[in-house]
Amino acid sequence: MTTRPIVSEPAENLCEVTFDSKLEKRIADTLKQYPTPRAALLPVLWLCQDRYGWISPGVMRAVAQRLGENPAHVEGVVTFYTMFRTRPPASYVLQVCRTLSCAMCGGKELAEHLTTKLGVGFGERTPDGLFELHAVECLGACGSAPVVQINDDYYESMTPEKIDAVLETLTRKA
């Protein structure tokens, strides 16, 4: 079951969140695409996560208010889906696929390589806040195993050398 606890948050996240007018407009437009406000919940949470990088308790409450929802329902939804982040992410979130096709085709070695290279375990981040490492289930790209998703991008047919080059580019960009 994909439920995770919401970690304790700094006080300011618990305060009221004010959306800028651009986000308010996009939320209003999204609401028009569905016959019930509740159905707009996932797309609206995506809008917020794209805007802030994660979904804080304050954002959950603000979203609930826009949709006329109970905040508990919003929290239930946020914690059910693995992709909604309930704490601020590192600059780059690395998701290594660990399911069968990837695991058989170099995914295990790749995962080990990444933990040593970054010096962190799964679910952890580097002290500089640049990288965060996660093991995830099948990413739907098994033909080009092993696969790593970094933020929104897929990196396929990875090898330790190739991923090193990717990480180097990302570090330079950051």
Binding site: T2, T3, L67, F84, L100, C105, C138, L139, G140, C142
Partner: protein, 437 residues
């Protein structure tokens, strides 16, 4: 066979509307708008198209379950969740030919008289959601979607709805719950979605590949489609081949070719120096097949006869280097992670099977473990759970344990005992004072 579904793969700029139109795109849609919805449904029924999402249910028949006299809105949902391990064909279709998918959605929506269609795409596919969104916007600008399409009285809006990471949302009723803004908890059936689905209205859920067949059926006729493949198993199929083959990837072949052709002729065979041990014919939820079954035909009926299923067409190939116990533990972990948790046999069963398999893998297997796994699988399948995820983990696990039992048994025979004195995990798991123990 020439490529049909993947004909745009390799064409430059194949995502653009201009390229699609130049190749005869939206001709089928224009033709459909001159037909009655019943005639469209009839054509699809005659083609004998069967759903490519997993169950292989005849598409025309599924559509016919929509109540004829229902006054309110109906919905079409395109299932682009692509979450079954070993499956990666829908992404290929969206990447190379997004307008083919859009045209297919439009045709299906017209046939069931829906004015709104949703595409449910897995959250990780953000880039492909954008590609589809652009295709929809471009088609709308040209008047192929929207209000009063091409001068007809028909209106259609297509909305792309992104999931957010949950295998279970590929199951059609969990998917519907997810669009409604809830957690992805599958619903008890009946009622089936065709009667009461999205927002309580009649709803059809079809897979991307199923929908991508529709423009071709309309353009070239049901007879032509039915002439490809084998009786009752008609049309082209995308096979996703992953694992230990020389050239993994998506290959398009008529239904009914053998797995030998798929693996050896089209994917270059097994890696050098290795031999085929086993393969999953239709995604990780299908019962495993061993090397001696490689001549089985890859179609719905032949796979069922052979005790497995064609499922999504995800062929996962395992060579002789694979440790079956490890593979089983890997899959058990996947399903334990993805169970939504509503039903005890699935939630506890998948977890329990994972624990046992991991213990065998760690060298602490016990006599009776395999029977226990098979018992767990029996209790989690055959209608004991709300949705088929219980079956989805039971089928691969029980088939691996049964068909490749030797590997499990060798592990267990060589196992050492777990240290006897384990610290009680729960305060009440030790002997309770005053209860006569």
């Amino acid at each position: 066979m020439d490529s049909i579904l993947l004909r745009a793969r390799g064409t430059p700029d194949s995502q653009s509307l201009t390229t699609y139109l130049a190749a005869g795109g939206y001709n089928a849609w224009e033709k459909v708008l001159q037909m009655t919805p019943e005639a469209v449904m009839n054509e699809v029924t005659l083609s004998e198209l069967r759903g490519r999402g997993g169950a292989g249910f005849p598409t025309g028949r599924k559509w016919s379950f929509i109540p004829k006299d229902h006054p309110g809105p109906r919905y079409l949902v395109c299932n682009a969740d692509e979450s079954e391990p070993g499956t990666f064909k829908d992404r290929e279709l969206i990447e190379h030919d997004p307008h083919l998918v859009v045209e297919g959605i439009a045709i299906a929506a017209y046939a069931i008289k829906a004015a709104t269609a949703y595409v449910y795409i897995r959250g990780e596919f953000g880039r492909w959601a954008t590609i589809l969104g652009k295709a929809i916007a471009d088609a709308k600008k040209k008047g192929y979607l929207g209000k009063g399409i091409l001068g007809s009285g028909y209106n259609l809006e297509i909305v792309v709805h992104r999931g957010a990471g949950a295998y279970i949302c590929g199951e059609e009723t969990a998917l519907i719950e997810s669009i409604e803004g809830k957690r992805g908890f599958p619903r008890l059936k009946p009622p089936f979605p065709a009667i009461a689905g999205l927002f309580g209205k009649p709803t059809i859920v079809n897979n991307v590949e199923t929908l991508a067949c529709l423009p071709h059926i309309i353009n070239r006729g049901a007879k032509w489609f039915a002439s490809i493949g084998r009786p009752r198993n008609t049309g082209p199929k995308l096979f996703c081949v992953s694992g230990h083959v020389q050239r993994p990837g998506v290959v398009e072949l008529p239904l009914g070719v053998s797995f030998r052709e798929i693996i050896f002729d089209h994917c270059g065979g097994i890696r050098d120096g290795h031999t085929l041990k086993a393969f999953f014919p239709g995604g990780s939820s299908a019962p495993i097949m061993t090397a001696d079954q490689v001549d089985v035909r890859a179609d719905f009926d032949a796979c069922a006869e052979a005790g497995s299923m064609l499922g999504s067409g995800g062929v996962i190939v395992l060579d002789d280097s694979v440790d079956i116990v490890e593979a089983a533990a890997n899959l058990a972990r996947f399903y334990a992670h993805e169970s939504c948790g509503q039903c005890t046999p699935c939630r506890e069963g998948a977890d329990w099977a994972m624990d046992i398999l991991e213990r065998i893998l760690a060298g602490h297997g016990r006599e009776g473990d395999l029977d226990q796994i098979l018992r767990i699988c029996t209790y989690a399948s055959n209608g004991m759970t709300i949705c088929p995820l219980g079956d989805a983990f039971s089928m691969p696990l029980s088939s691996m344990v049964k068909k490749l039992s030797g590997e499990f048994e060798r592990r267990i025979a060589a196992a050492s005992r777990l240290p006897q004195k384990k610290k009680p995990v729960l305060p009440w798991s030790g002997p309770l004072p005053g209860f006569g123990q």
